[in-house]
Symmetry: D2
């Protein structure tokens, strides 16, 4: 039987968008069929979205993407003004991105573990598995505990996940978990940090459903009967809707489906509820392998979303692919085409800080 050290010896390494100029490949793929052509069309829509400088770009993340080697790619999108807001599952942002920001790694699992043959053994060793990837559960517990401490450090009141994640970014800066601080502190770049520095808000609409949730449970347990931090999912929705009001032209780049997809689509209706005749999302891309035929939202087509008045039909594209293959191609095309060269970054966190001030008066 392998030791824990032996099992955790090949770290996942993150793909660097800057190293792979896929522009000619995309140009070739647009004359083909199936996923190749869909991927090329998605890349072109992302290019259009970025060249339309009025457009605010919302990146949606579902599925275990950071653990799969896509962290650096997303950091690049944030730092290159190619994304204005992120809506994500908690796992991507906390358990995976923030976790790596704490200097921990994900590890490559041998093929023999993929289908569950070694899970009892992994349990013994406190190794958690995501398909073909390993995580050291003891390190994950440190992540949980860090979130607990951040929660404890906050003034007791309801927070949107966006506000909380901003505090996580501040914590990284304060604790030297930055590339600048570098080797002394094991600091690296991360999505939470980049978004903090670039004023890109991050929303996790089901924020308790991740490592942060364990911190919240511990916090609320200790504070029973006293003022405590709470995580207001309504506030998340309110804030994201404010962005739609402030910036009517929007586009969605969605990796996977789930809550992030639904949440980001719904702000068009929410704006309407607030009495503003908001335009549908003008551009929309989704990368997924989810099937449409079970009627679940994750695989539902963007055409279906147009019947709800959420997504415009003109520039929408579903891409049927696992994300580690399609996202480097779609994002890489826009990166190497310099589609965002005229963009400055919307600094949306600043809009929301103003909303916050109003609210707190």
């Amino acid at each position: 039987m392998a030791t824990k050290k032996e099992l955790l010896n090949r770290p996942i390494q993150h793909l660097d968008l800057a190293q792979h100029n896929v522009v000619p490949l995309v140009e070739a793929m647009q004359h083909m069929a199936y996923s190749a052509r869909d991927t090329a069309r998605a890349a072109n829509i992302y290019d259009m979205m970025l060249r339309d400088t009025d457009c605010g770009v919302i990146l949606c993340l579902a599925g275990s993407l950071i653990s799969a080697g896509l962290q650096k790619l997303i950091v690049t999108l944030v730092r290159s003004n190619m994304v204005d807001a992120i809506v994500s599952t908690g796992a991507n942002i906390v358990d995976q991105d923030f976790f790596e920001a704490l200097s921990f790694n994900h590890y490559i699992a041998g093929d023999e573990y993929k289908y569950g043959a070694g899970d009892a053994e992994l349990r013994e060793l406190m190794i958690d598995r995501i398909y073909d990837t390993f995580i050291d559960e003891e390190e994950l517990r440190i992540c949980d505990e860090t979130l607990h401490q951040i929660t404890n450090s906050l003034q007791p009141r309801p927070y949107s996940s966006r506000e909380f994640i901003r505090e996580m970014g501040a914590w990284l800066v304060k604790n030297g978990k930055t590339p600048q601080a570098g080797s002394k502190t094991g600091g690296r770049d991360s999505i939470v940090l980049a978004a903090y520095e670039k004023n890109v808000p991050i929303f996790c609409p089901a924020f308790s459903d991740c490592s942060a949730g364990f911190g919240f449970v511990a916090h609320q347990h200790e504070r029973q009967g006293k003022p405590m931090v709470s995580i207001d999912s309504a506030k998340d929705f309110y804030e994201l809707t404010q962005l739609k009001l402030a910036n009517p032209t929007t586009g969605l780049l969605m990796i996977g489906g789930g809550v992030p997809k639904n949440f980001a689509q719904d702000i068009v209706v929410a704006a309407d509820v607030l009495g503003v005749d908001a335009s549908m999302h003008k551009y929309a891309i989704q990368i997924t392998v989810a099937d449409a035929r079970d009627g679940a939202l994750s695989g539902s087509t963007l055409k279906e979303a147009s019947s709800w008045g959420k997504v415009d039909l003109t520039y929408e594209q579903m891409v049927y692919s696992e994300a580690t293959l399609a996202l480097p191609i779609i994002a890489g095309y826009a990166y190497h085409k310099q589609s965002a060269s005229s963009r400055k970054g919307k600094q949306w966190s600043q809009i929301l800080d103003k909303v916050q001030e109003t609210v707190e008066v």
Copy 2:
């Protein structure tokens, strides 16, 4: 072009578990292969889960299930003591179940609409589409507005989704939306009502991500700078964890994946964070068509969850099927075998009411 009335003329009708004795079919399927055998094994595990009267049964709902005709089946599970808590997407509970409780219907869409050919036309008519099903968007707006009013009627403070949904149940009783009130008020049975009456708590961990969210946005917009209702997702997680502490033996019946699956699995770890050495979920069933190979949680195997210490390996079964086919067979088996005949219902809402009192001291 069809009129709205023509398009909305064939209501979805809900399957009645009591009418279909599938016990012999399940007994035949256990000697076959593939999904038939998996379905039979899942049915047997559900039977075991119910006969193990110590076991608290948590039903997880993701995907558009109520709109698909599964409302009555789930009501039957609640009323027959076959479920002790529900963790769901907001859409199932609010946009679909509560929506039907308001006397509205979902409608059968003609096959020609399934792939999006008529979505522009549907948009014009204010008809929303879920794959092969239609919804009257004007009725949905009434549902949104009802939620807005319920929100406004509450004392301003952070609520768990569970507390809020209980208020929705109370509203149904108060407004005659019950089978007893019957024809005068258009009242029908619903999951929200049955759960209210049977003290079965319902959690929606991403509660803003549904029709209720529109009500919250309107509410918080009006209350800016004033005390307001907030939806505390941390409290959801805290409460569900309390149930695990109060009732250590648990089983999961999961339809689809997404946030509900992750959330319900995670309470084992959360209990551990609170210093209690909680046992893994002893029984676990998941019905899904999600693929395992993209590494996303929805399709991840229950074996994988065992590496995280969340699900025990002994009695777990993945069923690869769209839910409208598999759930009537699995639930119907346990119903007609009277697997729950010795169960009284855990009345878990009462445990949580006590937690609430402590908190509010």
Copy 3:
């Protein structure tokens, strides 16, 4: 490590259509959504197909169906005049159906073998695995050798697979592998036998691609330079086309996709090539989980087939389900509705015997 005997101790048992009256279930499912409604509609189309006594029903089989417990169901369809011709992969007919007719069984594999963890061990024991099912490779070699002997016993000339499979039926009768011969010879009913007795032709368009192929290779190796049996796939296509010419109204009940689906659809075009303006298949049902988005035929929609002029648009239904769940419901509905009560069986083998005579003049 388990012994071979221990591993092969739970035989697959075949579902008996007659035991499960699913008519009420189908009637309930037609008012639901997704696969439930699709299954109900498919059941109704099969009912219509059978009541339209002009219609010749072609059953297409792909995937490992017989090993999964569907043998008896298909035998029932043949014996109840619910099928007039079969187009299949070789594996279903030879390696699985004929194999069981030789008194061998398929066996239930433990869940731990499903994902390949024990395949090296199985190799040692000469146990072959189909997902969750085991086969004794030594018994399969006897099946191969039986086919070799049947091949050797034939007059050397080109045979359609249909002619050859008819000889396999004759061999079963001659060797007492029938239910009548019973316990003395281990005889059981089988698709090959029932089709032989009911004059239902069976075609395997890629007939070498199965256990029979091994017999052919051995036969042709021994006969090098001498007259030998050959398997004329062109003749298969010619014969199936003759059936379309003799019986213009046709319907397809397709389980899985692959070659059988394509082959059966193509006879409309082939008839056209022979100068006959053949009508498209009037009814068509396909049960499959194959995805449409990779452009492969197996998952291609029946609408797509209509663009080729192969399948009529009016009565076609794709059912998204693994076959062990959906086929018992679809076939069971028609069986218990007695949809075929006015049918006598088309005796299509007799038409082809006449074609054969002409050819051999």
Copy 4:
């Protein structure tokens, strides 16, 4: 309504492997997870397969690949000694590759046609659809008729598909359908031509199941009672097995599943039947989106094949992706790594010509 000319105005263009150096991308992907890592590992196995100069490489093709823009890529593999034999569905080789060799094109279909909305209209215009691709049915009829003429020109006897396809190659040369003949004759390079010139045998084990089948039906209809061409699928299997005997080390590069996958895997067993203790396929790669959970062969894992003694466990990799995305990466890696630089091409057609001579003595 669009005219036929308007609908058929954007030809599919084939990706040129030589233009896209994906080596750095593959090197990055091997440190990621999911399909990226699987794709990288498959690329590495293909590299190993080619550097092992003893290894005969068998390329299996299922799904509509040529129509999707992969023709030139496969031609490049053949002309660069990266493939020694091909096992394919008939559609890829005849309806698509030979069809394009006749100077016809496949065309890009607008997104609105993808799900079947325009199929009735397409039928009127004699346009056939493959998911998002159009074919001119009148041109396809010319292809059918060409095959009919080639069939008529042959000496009446049983042919393997391999022999017949070689005649198709000869026909292309004779009729100036070559790049050399060029603009005068509309000649282009094709798989059938390249394989003819490079002595790479092509097998279509279900050869009637394609455009060629229509030619065969017409031919056999005209020759009733006279000597005729027949297509001996047994001979295909015998010939492919001879290659395994002559060249014991083999590797499989499989695109899709179906008959080609099964057929190529089975030659290990067939060799055994001929009394030769053949080694399993030493290397095996399959690109597919087929699900494993329905037990069908197309999605069955290569580990499962190892239980049958067909594929060695050491160097096998399933890649979960639609082929237009994964194949350019896998094949491009080996091409740009010059993995085949020490290979000369096995000239396997010459081995089979000798087998043929023996047989015909």
